[in-house]
Every structure is written in structure tokens, then in C-alpha cells.
Symmetry: C2
Subunit: 179 residues, 2 copies
């Protein structure tokens, strides 16, 4: 499964990819690689993390056409929306991304992740809300594995808030799928 998380610097995009890779490998017994790019992207533009998850050792960790694209900024969305393969899933922050020209061959799911995080007290949790949403919509990793991946990867004092953020995103996704 080829996944690209994208957004702008400071949104915790790399951390999101890392959490998913950690959950899949350590707690769902799969293999994963995470690739991040530095360069002009890291200098303020769209940033992205690429996660490849497989039942076997990942031999080629670089993604040309992701099967799941997550975009948390308009710039990232426009940069990457042309890439996903046919039938892929696209997840966006509904307040931050206006999908102008959505393709017929992708399924779009949106969540106001940043707004939900702000209601929890800090937009810093928006990426974990999105990871919870991702978990509900895609079934790539289990919610249980995602929860186990948080300790050690987020500050200890914010662990319970991160679990709450994860669950809020997950619930939002589950309700959306029921519709």
C-alpha cells in the first residue's frame, strides 16, 4: 500500500507518516518504510511523507502513484492530486483544501481536522485527528495499533490528548462511512 501524507511545514506531516509506519510494523506485523524529502519543499512549500506498507519486506520505498493521498493544505493538494492511481482514496482537511477539480476515479473523504483540534485546545493535534480519520477510512492499520504507536512518539504529557484526537478522527471517519 503506497501512501502519501502532504501539507505544509509545522503540521506534523512527517510525524503522521511515522506513526502509521510504526503502527503497521510494530503492532500490525507488517513491513513499512518512510521517506521524506528535504529541499525546496522543506524550505516552506508543500511537504510530504511517503509511507509504503506491505506484508513483505519493502524493496522499493519510493512512490510514483500513491493509492492513498492525504492533503492538509491547498498547495499540497494541487501539487499531488494528479498522482494517485485510479480507484485511489484522497483524504483532505475540509477547511484547508477546496478540491477544485476532483477526478472521477478517486474517492474523496474530508474532515475538518484542524478545526476539531482547535476545539480540543490546540491545532497541533490536527495531524493525529487526520491519522484517526485515515485509520477509519482506509483499514490499512488497526485503531488498536495506532493507539499503541503513540507512546514514545508524542510528548508524554500530551499522550491522553493525542489518543482523544485519534479517536475523534476515527469516529468522524466511521460515521462518514456509514452514510
Amino acid at each position: 500500500m503506497d501512501i502519501r501524507f502532504s501539507g505544509f511545514g509545522g503540521q506534523g506531516i512527517i510525524k503522521s507518516g511515522m506513526l502509521i509506519g510504526k503502527a503497521a510494523s510494530l503492532f500490525d506485523n507488517k513491513f513499512a518504510t518512510l521517506t521524506q524529502s528535504f529541499g525546496p519543499e522543506a524550505r516552506g512549500g508543500a511537504c510530504s511523507a511517503q509511507v509504503v506498507i506491505d506484508h513483505n519486506r519493502v524493496l522499493y520505498p519510493y512512490i510514483i502513484a500513491p493509492e492513498i493521498l492525504v492533503s492538509m493544505s491547498q498547495e499540497a493538494y494541487e501539487k499531488f492530486i494528479g498522482d494517485p492511481v485510479k480507484g485511489s482514496i484522497v483524504l483532505t482537511d475540509s477547511d484547508l483544501v477546496k478540491p477544485k477539480k476532483i477526478r472521477d476515479d478517486v474517492q474523496l473523504f474530508s474532515i475538518p481536522a484542524t478545526r476539531i483540534a482547535e476545539e480540543m485546545g490546540n491545532r497541533i493535534f490536527a495531524n493525529v485527528v487526520m491519522v484517526g480519520f485515515f485509520t477509519a477510512i482506509t483499514d490499512v492499520v488497526s485503531l488498536d495499533a495506532m493507539k499503541k504507536a503513540l507512546p514514545g512518539s508524542v510528548p508524554e504529557r500530551f499522550l491522553s490528548t493525542n489518543i482523544e484526537a485519534l479517536e475523534k478522527g476515527f469516529e468522524y471517519g466511521k460515521n462518514l462511512k456509514k452514510q
Copy 2:
């Protein structure tokens, strides 16, 4: 330039790769990618981070044969020592790695990075001592860029100690090269 940092979990191997990629791209105007693997490696065995640095956009971030191998554990050394291309540079922690069967076609440089860090008060700085050593031996990134890469990537209250660790590793490397 293809670089592999390796060691065991908890040594800050991924952070080392990240610091080098950040330094090269943000402060030396190059392009970089960082790839980390999860899976059995992340479950306690040898862990590694792969950094590719180039003057142009990196198209293929996966390393088959690194030109620089850094090993901070015996297990990682033995796992990866067969990989480097002819003429490559191998850096090790001299207290943690005993290079049993060193190839004729690689150049070996060693530093007691962990011991130097312990003398500074905490072995947690060993990876940054090694990054300083790497900077002196390989010339892939400048010392100035490495120093600029630390803020935001290490805890604020340990910034000055990290700079000191970087400089200690760098000095050790410069003195070794003079010999």
C-alpha cells in the same frame, strides 16, 4: 552521495540522518531524502536511516550500495559492511564496533563517540558526536550547516550541549585526518 547511518534503536540513528539531510538541504542548498525502515529492524535489531544528498532533485532515494556507511553497533556493522561500494568510507564507534573483517577497498575511521558523550554527561549525545565526526571526515555537509540544523531538531534546553557534542566529534575527525 548515498549514506547509511546504522546502529541500534535508541541511539538516535534516524535523528542523525535527519540532521544531515536538513543541514544539506536547508543550509547547503542541496537536495536530500531520508528513508527509514520499520519492521523487524525496528523491533530491536539493527536499525538504519538512509540519506541521499544530491545537487539535483533526488529521484531514487533507496540505497543499494552506500558510499558512506556509519555503524554505531556491532550488529549493524556486520549486517551492512558487505554493502558499501569500492572506495567508500566507513565510520564506526570504536568502543562499540570491532571491525573483524575490514575490506581493503574501504577507508575506516573510528571515534569513541559514545564514550565522548558519556564524558559530557550523557550518552544520548553520542549520535551528534558521530554527526560531527562524519562532518569532518566526509565533507558532505559543512560544519556551519550542521550547526544551523540543530535548533528545532533537538530539545531547546540541550541545544548548547548538542553544539558542543557536534564540535567535539568534528575536532576528533579533523585531528584524525591530519595524521
